[in-house]
């Protein structure tokens, strides 16, 4: 299978690989996919007081296109607000990386991952607020 130059670039030099502390209240974690299907993505965001994503990290088990999709996404979400990051569509990722039809699911997974990370962050925050109200 031929990969696009952009996929190869992200695959060979993945950006923002790593892991952040799950328990940090500024961190949202999204983990999507399944080992049996051949891909699992973990995407984490660190959100500042102003609601802007300060940092993003990923780790991905999967094919080159899955790795590239998540690497690209971490670059894109940094500096964006949660609402902006949430509106990123898989088609934009697929287009940027020139993914072939059989690899579109990798970009879908990346979209799912950022949505899951944002949801996780918001849930954590709401719980904290509830805790502080009742407390």
């Amino acid at each position: 299978m031929a990969y696009s130059d952009k996929v190869l670039d992200h695959y060979e030099n993945p950006r923002n690989v790593g892991k952040m502390d799950d328990d940090d209240e500024d961190v949202g974690t999204g983990m999507v996919g399944a080992p049996a299907c051949g891909d699992v993505m973990r995407l984490q965001i660190k959100v500042g007081q102003d609601g802007v994503i300060e940092d993003a990290r990923f780790k991905t088990y999967g094919c080159g296109s899955a790795i590239a999709s998540s690497s690209l996404l971490t670059e894109w979400v940094k500096g964006r607000t949660l609402d902006e990051a949430e509106s990123i569509k898989n088609t934009e990722i697929a287009e940027e990386l020139a993914l072939p039809p059989v690899k579109i699911h990798c970009s879908v997974l990346a979209e799912d991952a950022i949505k899951a990370a944002i949801t996780d962050y918001r849930t954590k925050r709401d719980l904290d607020e509830e805790a502080s109200v009742t407390g």
């Binding site: 049996a36 051949g38 993505m41 991905t60 088990y61 094919c63 080159g64 790795i67 699911h105």
Partner: protein, 404 residues
């Protein structure tokens, strides 16, 4: 060093230069280009003689009578002819066939076709070691069983089935026994005088011969009868019509002659290379070798690198020509049916590589492979959330994954 380095000898092999030389002598006007079936002139006689020499060379490698060798286009056709040929011919005696789940597609798809025609097929489960036990064969033989088809060496994991013991059972029960020997012939000793095997499929291109040619061994005593699958001039005693491809057959003959002469030394050399590869990789964490370690052909080894996905692993090994256990270039992400039949979970099956070593593999090639694989696996594990979880002691079987 020329890259990519070829580690896919189980898929096919380059033609040995000595074989290519012999083949080239059967093509041009001044060579043996005649039709071996032409009985009225020298061109035909010369070609026929060359074909009969080749037939003897093939027979010699497996210790049978040259009259028991039927030329075909390859092991796939041989498997088809053996299984369909016997099933059709003995249809009135019974319509039950036994095979295993880890056969080559040439056998499995042939059995599927016979099922569509109304035959019944039992697919035996191998053990976790990849071996089909003689006991499981015996237990599934019925009154109406006509043929058992079990491969000698599995093409994905390299384990060797005990065809001697299975043959004793099938002979006792008066059931025909077909063996797909595409991966074993020329790699290990086969003595058809000893073995109670009735049919055996061979291919030339796995043994440094050309593609597009093979043979089927059809036992004369006790006699096996076949219904032909290809009709025409009645060549090969009516079992397989079609003008004999002199240059191909001569190539196969020469390839088998060389194998006969060099097999012992070559096996020893290739086994040493395989052990070198194993030594270099086995001490990594979470690496698994598939199949029984005591019963295996020298050149094939299948290893799984847990928590690394197969396609990306292949992608990080541009300098190696290896084969992956997962066919995930399709959208379906199907892991190997062979590894699955061994009871391996999908993740591990997805992370497997088959290395197959052959005549032209060197120690330097193996050392390069070790370095490349170690680097690639380490890099991908650094990227893998599953590796993190494994390192953190998380039980991944307990996680509810959203399968997609």
């Amino acid at each position: 060093m020329k890259t990519p380095i070829y580690f896919d000898y189980a898929a096919t092999t380059p033609v040995d230069p000595r074989v290519a030389q012999k083949m080239s002598e059967c093509l041009l006007a001044e060579g043996k280009f005649g039709n071996p079936a032409s009985r009225s002139h020298k061109f035909g006689w010369e070609a026929e003689e060359a074909v009969e020499v080749a037939r003897r060379q093939v027979a010699d490698l497996v210790n049978c009578d040259p009259r028991e060798i039927v030329w075909t286009s390859g092991a796939t056709e041989s498997d088809n002819l053996a299984i369909k040929g016997v099933a059709h011919f003995y249809k009135s005696k019974g319509q039950h066939i036994i095979t295993s789940k880890i056969e080559h597609k040439a056998v499995l798809d042939t059995c599927r076709q016979l099922e569509r025609e109304g035959f019944e097929v039992t697919y035996l489960e191998p053990g976790e070691d990849g071996l089909v036990t003689p006991e499981s064969v015996e237990a599934s033989i019925r009154e109406d069983t006509t043929i058992v088809s079990i491969m000698h060496v599995n093409n994905e994991i390299g384990v060797v089935n005990d065809i001697a013991a299975i043959g004793e059972i099938t002979r006792n029960h008066k059931v025909f026994f077909h063996v797909d020997a595409a991966q074993s012939v020329g790699k290990m000793k086969i003595d058809l005088e000893d073995l109670k095997v009735d049919l055996m499929a061979f291919s030339a291109h796995k043994v440094y011969g050309p593609k597009g040619v093979g043979a089927l061994y059809v036992r004369r005593k006790p006699r096996v009868r076949l219904e032909a699958q290809i009709h025409g001039g009645g060549h090969e005693r009516g079992m397989r019509s079609g003008t004999l491809a002199t240059h191909q057959l001569v190539g196969m003959g020469e390839a088998f002659r060389i194998a006969n002469e060099e097999m012992n030394a070559e096996s020893e050399r290739i086994t040493a290379l395989r052990e070198r590869l194993l030594d270099g990789l086995e001490n990594m964490e979470e690496v698994y070798v598939s199949g029984d370690m005591d019963h295996r052909v020298p050149g094939i080894i299948n290893m799984s690198f847990n928590y690394v996905e197969g396609e990306s692993l292949i992608m990080s090994l541009p300098d190696l020509a290896v084969s992956s256990g997962s066919a995930c270039t399709s959208a379906s992400l199907e892991p190997s049916y062979v590894l699955r039949a061994l009871g391996m979970n999908d993740e591990l099956a997805h992370s497997s590589l088959r290395f197959s070593i052959g005549r032209f593999t060197t120690e330097e090639d193996v050392d390069q492979a070790i370095t490349s694989v170690r680097t690639a696996v380490n890099k991908l594990r650094e990227l893998s959330p599953l590796w993190d979880m494994y390192k953190d002691g998380v039980d991944m079987d307990k996680i509810e994954w959203a399968t997609h």
